[in-house]
Amino acid sequence: MNSELSMTEGGAVKKSNAGAPDGLATPARRSEDSGAAAARARGSSARRVAAIARNTFREAVRDRVLYNLVLFVLILTGGAVFLGELSAAQEAKIIVDVGLSAALLFGVFIAIFVGVGLVYKEIERRTIYAIFAKPVGRAEFLLGKYLGLCLTLAVNVFVMGAGVSLALLYVRGGWDPLAASIWPAVGLIYVELMILVAVALLFSSFSTPALSALLTFSVFIIGHFSAELKGLAAAGGAGARLLFNALYYLLPNLTNYAYITAASHGRTPAAADLFGAVLYGLAYITVLLAASALVFKRRNFK
């Protein structure tokens, strides 16, 4: 499959150079041509990734993944209507806590259970052979799948965030600053979910769905225990320090994205913290996707 891919990609490059016979081209023109060809190749690669992402999103919609929004709306409506009387004037805080926690929890389940099936389903249905018979690289396939699920989650998280804002406006009977101030926290939830999808994709690139789901869920839990890992590293001996420090830096620190409680008090993360967390997430996602591509390139589908 690898050789086929490189041949295809090589073919595409050769085709783009066809208009300029090698013997007549000057070095400058050759350089221009190869630059243009590379740009075209990049453009077509982006189109392929986008096509896979679009299809992954459509498949998620067909699989009724977004039906969880109905449950979410029910939870929020219940919270908004009934908690007002039970919470002693804390309904806004509770709506934010319940709404954003549900957004995170549902998102985690989608990221894990849909994420681990992204590659596996294609292999199981043998549609992966049809995909790789086309000029699609394995890394492009993975990236497309990843972005498709991220798009699904983006819709999910955005609708849930909007639902929380609307619920706040409803219980306040007018404008509530919380309706706007929760959005940085919503954004950070989304980045956390993007990391989890990448983790799920990495595990599913070499393991079974059940094991991948288990491992990804473990990463989610350990990711929220990062502070404990650092504490253990500080308290232990040299060996323990090395081990726990390695784990601390190797596993994603998901506490960087835990702003739900602060958001319920109308607090927003400092700009530096927000951008730092987003950058950290992007760096981590890059690492995970690169590792997934490396593993997936060596995978035998027979």
Partner: protein, 338 residues
């Protein structure tokens, strides 16, 4: 013996039979389909009935099992908290706010259950007779999970002191450590100390709160008043006025309003006492009824009802105590006696 079977498929009789056959077969098919549909519907109905009957049976059994259990005594029940606050915080992952809300709702329900089971008079700041032993632990959990949960601190500062004053001080102290820039917590701490008659500590708490950026000027003023005359009604009025203004909880605001009304009533009773003293000095006796002293009471700025009786802040008439020649609260008054 030339039967149709013997004639074979091409015989005229067979042709006639085939002409009738499709209609009969169609009828047969239709009736069989109708039968099938009927039995399908019957099966669906039976299944639906089974679901409903099963739910009814399960509910009935559940009620029967509940009835067999000994009734829970809300005063004897010990609400076990399975995990320490810090452990709960660690275990809650990113859902600590949600867990804090759960403990908060549980605290309110816990108090609500005790209140529902208690037959007697009580106020929010004196619930010692209700046996609310675990409220401190529940609020501690709530604030450990969400250290910025101001409503829990406020509730604890008002309700806890009559149950466990040191737990209340610990709760607010923890809040101050977690939120050093929150002057309202010093107000709560000052209130707890003031209630206990520890005016020096209360003054120190208000002084510390006054130093925080954004703290209102009255924090400093209250600190000075507390040091000078902490037990005076003026300080009490200032204290409850600020509590009324700052409260986020309607119950706490209601308590502050009640205490302010009580202070008003005390001032009114003092004025009535002065009027009665003046009447006695002039007439040589205590008035036999309020009507006798009504002009003097009106002149003193007191509100009177149609019968000339002075009214307390809850609009109940004061009772003339002929023995002491003073006024006391009517039994239907909503003003607390102490």
């Amino acid at each position: 013996m030339n039967t149709s079977e013997e004639r074979g498929p091409g015989s005229p009789a067979d042709v006639g039979g085939r002409a009738e056959g499709p209609a009969a077969a169609h009828d047969h098919l239709a009736s069989s389909r109708a039968r099938g549909a009927r039995s399908e519907r019957a099966r669906d109905a039976a299944l639906a009935l089974l679901v409903v009957a099963g739910l009814v049976a399960a509910s009935g059994l559940s009620r029967w099992l509940d009835a067999r259990r000994p009734a829970e005594d809300p005063f004897a029940a010990y609400e076990e908290l399975y995990v320490a606050p810090e452990t709960a915080r660690r275990m809650s992952l990113a859902f600590n706010g949600l867990a804090a809300d759960w403990y908060w709702l549980r605290s309110l329900q816990y108090v609500g259950r005790k209140v529902g089971a208690f037959e007697g008079d009580f106020r929010l700041d004196d619930m010692s007779r209700l046996g609310i032993r675990n409220l401190g632990a529940l609020l501690e959990h709530s604030t450990a999970l969400d250290p910025q949960f101001m409503a829990a601190y406020e509730f604890g500062a008002v309700v806890l002191p009559s149950i466990d004053r040191e737990a209340a001080v610990r709760l607010i102290g923890r809040g101050i450590r977690e939120n050093p820039g929150e002057w309202r917590l010093y107000h709560h701490l000052g209130y707890i100390h003031w209630q206990a008659g520890r005016f020096e500590e209360a003054g120190e708490a208000y002084a510390a709160g006054a130093r925080i950026e954004g703290a209102p000027a009255w924090m400093g003023a209250l600190s000075a008043q507390m040091h000078a005359h902490g037990g005076s009604p003026e300080v009490a009025r200032e204290m409850y006025l600020r509590m009324y203004e700052q409260a986020t909880d309607d119950q706490v605001r209601g308590l502050a309003a009640l205490r302010l009304a009580q202070l008003d009533s005390l001032a009114e009773r003092e004025r009535i006492g002065e009027v009665l003293s003046a009447f006695r000095a002039r007439a040589g006796r205590c008035p036999a009824s309020w009507r006798e002293a009504a002009p003097l009471l009106r002149a003193a700025g007191l509100r009177l009802d149609a019968a000339g009786s002075p009214l307390d802040p809850s609009d109940a008439p004061y009772v003339l105590d002929a023995a002491d020649c003073g006024a006391r609260l009517h039994e239907c008054s909503r003003i607390p006696g102490k």
